[in-house]
Amino acid sequence: MKDVILLLLLFFYSVAEAQIATDSIQRLDEVVLSDVKLKRHSKGYKVSVLNDSVLQRNGGSFTDLLRFNSIIYFKENGYGMVSSPSFRGTNASQTAVIWNGISINSQLTGQTDFNTVNVTNFSSVVIRSGGGSVQYGSGAIGGSIHLNNSLKFNAHFENTATLSYGSYDSKKASYLSSYANGKFSINLGLQYIDSENDYKYLNSAKRNTNGAYNNASVNVTLGYVLSDTDVLKLYHQSFIGDREFSGTINSPSLAKYKDQNFRTMIEWERHGEKVDSKFKVAHLQEHFKYFGNKNTKNFTFGKVNTYLINYTSDIDLNPFLKLKPIIAYNYYEGSGSSFANPNRTELSTTALLQYKPNNSWQYGLNLRQDITSSFKSPMLMAFDMVFEVSPHYTLKLNGSKNHRVPTFNDLYWQPGGNLNLSPETSYQVDFGQELRLNKSSLKLNTYYIKTNDLIQWVPGNSGFWSPENVAKTQNYGAEVGLDITKTTKDHNFSLQLNYAYTVSEDLETKKQLIYVPYHKANANLAYNYKRLSVFFQHLFNGEVYTTKENLSGRFYSVEAYHVNNFGINYQLFKTHSQHIDMSLKVFNLFNTAYENVAFRPMPDRNFNFQIQYNF
């Protein structure tokens, strides 16, 4: 490992020395980007941005945000419980979550539990549809979801303090602060959430008795301009969560789960005339404790430390051609109740090429090869192209080969872990059209994904389950995204509509995979008049099968549902530099009984009152 660091450092110095530049101050606007790949090297992909106003409108749970604002489907084990995504019909470990440019999917499960991330502390959440393993590594098969913190260096000092209280004794306090003086910039986000979450099960006398949760999260982003050419940045995120795990309707649980996630990254950027370079060092730690019975002290745990060194540069080879080489070294060390102390190293080399011969056409070509200590990784590649037919109409096409590596659980779990697994590999193409008119846009996408060597746990002869590269799947579907914004003197109106049709089937049986709806749609309507704003959200989630047979019924499927939210916000007080907002939100407006996972009901109608002070 030492040798690798040394090598990377040497490489970094040699490139950096060669490109000391003069006009770098103008380039500081670029500094706000925490993820250049997303901005510059995803041209042929469908990219949707959820900005801070959308993040504020939605309660703060990552699951809720995406459930109501994207086509991603969530399998949530009751409100606030383990929540895993299916993006374009792929499984939970085939959706990558990227924090400021690096993947934070669990090394244990391969997934991100979307109820262990609070989104209000981020500047934006970006959804990138389609394969992204070349750029983001394992798991970016259906797509990737990006949590970004950005920094502004122009002098400012802004604060937002929020308090809210709602049904089931739900409390939230958060504080966001942003300060900069030209040379130094800091963003701070603090949030604490606590809820009894003991909602009533509709059509039943029972309640969600073991579902209470609380969590605290801290986000810090620091930037310091070292010189005309150099900027040093620090990103940090902590999440400490404590959840009870609710049971099924007739089977209350006593289980409890503790999450601790710490993520820290230091980034050194050097800006040159033709070359920008970045050197990153990061440490991620995930740690869970599972208590089968919350009243005892016995628990099982899993813990993984990830150390990452990454060097990348953005090179303008000529006015039309941009090259971005990336070299990264990852070291993972795990420990846990169900395995000893395994570790894994991974060296990856990536090259991203962006070619823009004229204003109408753009091409991207990306290659990546990983060398991993535990298994053989395939060579990954991606291409994308954009053709601007007219200023109002754009065509996008991309294709890629992606992978999902076996997790620590897959490899080392005792009993069952299989050291002979190969990474899952996936091929896909995605064709998109974008129509823009004034401030409105329409996006249409169709895609096809084929995945081989899918890892599944199957019962073995030795009496225990073991993962094997067994299944092959294909996914195809169509997505429509409509975004309309209308602004007159006093009135602002916006509407976002999303619809996805998804077929995700086992190639052998030709049956739809479990927990993938054929249909999912949502609508967001927002209206603002002077100090008053209101919003209305609607979600339609189609029926999902819970067994491979594709039968309908209580023991074979979860029924389709419609659920609606409504919110109203009023600015009580407003001056040039301060304002106080009060808002009331009603979730599940029509008191609909629904489930995301069979026999695990979701909440009845519930309310949330919030007061927010901006200064």
Partner: protein
């Protein structure tokens, strides 16, 4: 199959004609829709119970849900039968009591139970094996339940991982499979004073039966912890125990590397399955049979029962419906198969 239906038809004619001839005999009214059939419990989730009539003519899945409009919880471990009641043991800590013929819910027992496994009955008392916290090797117990009040009246601490319970002449026999670990004991509880004796057997004792000679027959699967470093593997065996003094009459060991998982007993013969092959062991045997009776076609044999000349096995799937397979014991041919619940395990005769 036709023959079976025909004989049942003929028998019913006989009963009817009997009652016509003799006014003293009152025809027995059916006790419920689920009388005279096979019950298959499925772990789930969600847990469920399937019914197949003795003549194989009617089948119904999710019997408990259909009658009571509620699920049974996670995960259904086993079912015990006493008089006209069935006790459905779910390992999240509840026992649901139903009428075994109608499946109408009569009550639940949950206080005093943590991770219950199996239930056995002695008059008005039930004995339930319970792992308590599965990660704690010292808190396992046998819950003693009063069947009038349906309350746990006492608990008897036992060693790690109590599994099957069997009541025979004022003794409760408990096989200690070992839960998440490995154990090698059979506990013997004297029901008069709850005093405890232990018999040491090979590792991982599971199924137990009292044979026709009144001896206790135990299947020990042997340890097979290939994931440990170094791996731990021990010989499986079938042990015959003299219950008068808890001495071992014979311990028939399997060759190293063989781990039979299931055993059933009917009419003087034990049957076990090893690598999808069915073997037969007579009460008088002192060595294991050399050759199997026949092979079964399953991918994950999860439960086994024998009745008359028929072998019933569950081929479990946890992602779709499982299958119940019925074999003719003499010929080894597959007679019938039925679609049953997710994770189907135990097979009972009602």
């Amino acid at each position: 199959m036709k023959k079976v239906i025909l004989s049942i038809f003929a028998m019913s004619l006989f009963i009817v004609s009997c009652s016509d001839d003799n006014d003293d005999v009152i025809p027995t009214a059916p006790l419920g829709a689920y009388e005279h059939g096979i019950l298959v419990s499925a772990e789930g989730g969600p847990s469920s119970i399937s019914f197949i009539s003795d003549d194989f003519s009617t089948t119904q899945n999710q019997v408990y849900y259909n009658v009571n409009n509620e699920e049974l919880g996670v995960y259904l471990q086993s079912v015990g039968f006493n008089d006209d009641k069935a006790y459905i043991v779910v390992d999240n800590g509840t026992i649901t009591i139903v009428n075994r013929y109608t499946f109408e819910k009569l009550g639940t027992i949950s206080t005093g139970l943590t991770t219950p496994r199996f239930i056995a009955f002695d008059g008005n008392t039930a004995y339930v094996s319970d792992w308590a916290d599965p990660y704690d090797t010292t808190d396992d117990f046998i819950a003693v339940i009063d069947l009038t009040s349906n309350a746990v009246i006492s608990s008897i601490p036992v060693s790690e991982g109590p599994e099957q319970v069997l009541v025979n002449s004022s003794k409760v026999y408990v096989s200690h499979k070992g839960g998440y670990n490995v154990n090698n004991e059979v506990s013997v509880i004297n029901t008069s004073d709850n005093s405890l004796e232990t018999i040491t057997v090979n590792d991982v004792p599971d199924e137990m039966f009292i044979d026709a000679n009144g001896h206790l027959l135990v299947l020990n699967a042997g340890a097979n912890q290939s994931w440990l470093n170094p791996p731990v593997e021990t010989e499986a065996s079938i042990t015959r125990i003299d219950i008068s003094d808890n001495s071992i009459i014979s311990n028939m060991e399997f060759p190293f590397g063989q781990h039979p998982g299931l055993m059933a007993y009917d009419n003087g013969r034990a049957y076990y399955i090893l690598d999808n092959q069915v073997f037969e062991l007579t009460d008088s045997a002192t060595t294991l049979p050399n050759s199997p009776m026949f092979s079964i076609e399953t991918s994950y044999t999860y439960g086994m029962s024998v009745k008359g000349n028929q072998l019933f096995v569950t081929d479990a799937s946890f992602t779709e419906s499982s299958t119940l397979l019925v074999y003719d014991l003499t010929s080894g041919t597959l007679i019938n198969s039925f679609s049953v619940g997710l994770g189907a395990s135990k097979i009972y005769f009602n």
